[in-house]
């Protein structure tokens, strides 16, 4: 297991600005791949952050040489898939195919990224569907509570900030074809283009096929996103988002922490939060669910720390309306106890074994591997970082974990947001 990734992943740069990370595994026939270009929401023009999302959504609606039916026919006739989606920093794609169909699938991927057909009519239909999905998301108690939390913690234009659903609908509705074409022309280019693949795959084949597709693509300036915004000052805030006719409420308690994943305190803090609510045997599930029976699901996590962003930690839970107050109080008590007394040596030891075992279990399928390798590359980490991870975890000390809790967690200043149908 030692240096598994460093030994097995073949790293290459078939074209300047395009890096490949290929992991041949023992699985037969199947290949999973993932990739990204730095042209997500944060690269959209300031006046409309949804342009990047619409551009990504249009990539499967035809190319210069193939209409959308030909595109879908090529993929579906071999049982393959390519899906595009937009994140704050990237346009990403994931896909899978059988080994023999890789040339067909990557050739199509190249066309879709290089020469998409941005038809007015297709954009209009896509917008209609996106607005429908956004309208439906107004019923989603978890999503609405999360939007509420992020708006309290971060200022507009911060990577972790979230627009309201109505704001998104308005922006999506106003995007024009011309804006998408301009965005594509200016941002879809070589430079920060990462591609990962895992399964029954040869690195040489991948590199050859990608070179064929992108050798004539221009190389843009390799400018990493620069973050010039910070979270709002910490102040405990409360917000209830009423959504009628719901039997379960989603609740968040959260707080911005001011550091990103490259900070020296990141892993000790992550470990502290894992002990509080990282899995079923963590404190929150053991006490609030297993002992008190107040919820089906509760957990804690550290998020939004990638690409230099100052992240946040949060606790999430669902409660029946009549148990919300009791559940919230019990959760706060657990956080208080964790803050006051820290975690124990036994807990630290157990969670270290958990994380190291989970690292092995994560090697079970190609899908998870391709995503893990891509994420590492996006964060501009070397492949060795994937192998160092267990070592980093192993070296975390109890003292350091408990100091980071005191340093970053402010139990009295947690922001509370809940969405659902409230009893009162």
């Amino acid at each position: 297991m030692r240096n598994y990734f460093s030994k097995k992943i073949v790293v290459d740069e078939p074209q300047k600005g395009l890096s490949t990370f290929v992991l041949p595994t023992g699985v037969k026939e199947v290949i999973t791949f993932a990739g990204s270009l730095p042209c997500g929401t944060l690269y959209s023009p300031r006046k409309n952050s949804e342009i990047s999302s619409l551009a990504a959504g249009m990539l499967d609606k035809g190319t210069k040489n193939k209409d959308k039916y030909e595109v879908s026919d090529i993929l579906e006739s071999v049982g393959a898939e390519i899906n595009f989606f937009n994140t704050a920093h990237h346009v990403q794609f994931t896909g899978y195919c059988l080994k023999n169909d890789l040339p067909t699938v990557l050739c199509l991927l190249g066309e879709q990224l290089r020469t998409p057909l941005f038809l007015e009519k297709e954009l209009s239909t896509l917008k209609k569907r996106l607005v429908g999905n956004l309208e439906r998301s107004k019923e989603d108690t978890k999503k609405q509570a999360m939007i509420g939390l992020l708006r309290k913690l971060y200022p507009p234009h911060h990577p972790n900030y979230a627009l309201t659903t109505d704001e998104k609908i308005e922006l999506v509705s106003s995007v024009r074809t011309k804006e998408i074409k301009t965005f594509h022309k200016n941002t879809y280019q070589l430079g920060g283009f990462n591609f990962s693949a895992a399964g029954d795959v040869s690195p040489d084949t991948i590199n050859k096929l990608l070179k064929e597709q992108f050798s004539r693509w221009k190389k843009g300036p390799d400018i990493p996103y620069r973050l010039d915004l910070k979270a709002r000052p910490i102040k405990g805030k409360k917000r209830r988002i009423p959504i009628p006719d719901k039997q379960s409420i989603d609740m968040y308690l959260g707080q911005a922490i001011g550091i990103n994943r490259r900070h020296k305190d990141y892993y000790p803090l992550k470990m502290a939060i894992y002990v509080l609510g990282g899995n079923f045997s963590a404190r929150l599930m053991q006490t609030i669910r297993d002992e008190a029976g107040l919820t089906y699901g509760i957990g804690a996590s550290l998020s939004g720390t990638g690409f230099g962003s100052d992240g946040y930690w949060s606790t999430w839970a669902t409660f029946a309306p009549d148990l919300l107050e009791k559940g919230k109080r019990a959760t706060r008590n657990q956080i208080k106890e964790w803050y006051n007394n820290g975690i124990t040596e036994k807990e630290l030891k157990e969670k270290k074994t958990t994380i190291m075992g989970a690292y092995k279990v994560g090697l079970d399928s190609t899908g998870g591997l391709a995503a893990r390798i891509l994420s590492n590359a996006q964060q501009r980490e070397k492949i060795e970082h994937l192998d160092k991870y267990p070592e980093i975890i192993k070296n975390i000390s109890l003292d350091k974990v408990n100091k980071t809790i005191k340093k970053y967690i402010k139990p009295k200043q947690l922001t509370f947001v809940a969405a659902g149908t409230f009893d009162d």
Binding site: M1, T25, G26, V27, K28, E29, V30, Y69, V71, S72, D73, L75, E76, S77, V78, G79, C97, L98, S124, K128, R129, L130, V131, G132, N133, R136, K138, E139, T141, G199, P244, D245, Q247, S248, F280, S281, Q286, R289, A292, G293, L294, T295, Y296, T318, A320, E350, K351, T353, T354, M356, G357, A358, K360, V361, L363, D364, S365, T366, G367, G420
Partner: protein
Amino acid sequence: MSPKNKKKEPGFKFIKASGGIEEYCLSSNGLRVLTLEEHSAPVTTFMVTYHVGSRNEAIGHTGATHLLEHLMFKGSKKFNKEKNTAIWSELQNIGAQINATTWNDRTNYFEVVPSEHLERAIAIEADRMRNAFLKDEDRQPEMTVVRNEFERGENSPFDVLDKNIWATAYQAHPYHHSTIGWRSDIENVSTKRLQEFYNTYYWPNNATATVIGDFEKKRTLALIKKYFGVHGRSQHTIPKMYTEEPAQEGPRRIMIKRVGQTGIVGIGYKTPEGLNQDTYALQALGKILTEGKSSRLYKRIVDPGLATSLFMYDFPFKDCGMFISYVFLTPETDHNSVEEIVLEEYRQIIKEGIKQKELDRAKAQIKANVAFSRDGSYAVASALNEALAIGDWTFYSTFMDHIIKVSRKDIQRVAEKYLIEDQNTTGWFIPQN
């Protein structure tokens, strides 16, 4: 060593092999064991499937199988909090993925473990097979946990609509109720009832253990014998569920009106038991109708913006099933027009059949799905679990062989046989302001 000798394992009777998977029976108590060695990653999945699900429940204790599944994590003779060997922590502390699921025909408990910890997973599953505590003081807090799971489901208009379509289509057969059960049953079922349920169905002769991944067969079978061999077979015959659904005489329709944003249309047709030969053609028909952007309903409904998305499912179950299509409408679309398009497409297939190209595409999609169902030890175990549920695990290993044989005529025939408008059940979710 000849292949015949290879399959001789002390204490086990070799039953059969298919697609690289071998089936054994632990002679002392009737426990079935499936094995598939695959050493590409240092990971093994161990799973125990009990051949009991919500189809074995009746009025008053719907949801009992699922509630019992939850209680099975509360401790057993050797693995419990008092001894500091609680099931969750014993397994999660070694990095295992661990969980259990309940559905119509089966309940399964599984662990995906770093290979060196396989013995721990076997020991835990063996102990809780017959030595689970199932205490009343554990049921009360777990009941509210499960009730919150129910409440979360009720938050989703789709979940509510799906539950109601099944409840309308099936009136006598226990597929009438969903696995989570009715709220009042979750709240009121007694611990005694759950214990009775456990003592009726949780026996080695009503279970199958599956081991997939990085393990050594001889040693693993010896471990299974060591831990599960301590249990005898049940002294009683495992009860059979005998209720049959009477023929449906006319279309049925339901409407759910709740505060919401957008509408949903669901149209379901009864299908035969999973092991029926028509299942294969129905699976291909489902792909032709809704899988991918070239599918018939996607082109007619999603493409022009009448819906945000659609999908269908036709899970093969032990007794009978439902071929259901769901369409999630865009804000201005009316339910009627979409329902009519779906029915039109069904009528057209019944009348004119399908093109060879459509069938080829469906088969290619299924071929890729089958290949990916072998991507990782958990994926294989999970697919086998569903095949075990319907009564024959080789449904998984031979599935593609049957799909290859499906013809255009088969598709038209099953469409005509099962997509009968007089016997469908239609549900609308109508959002209220």
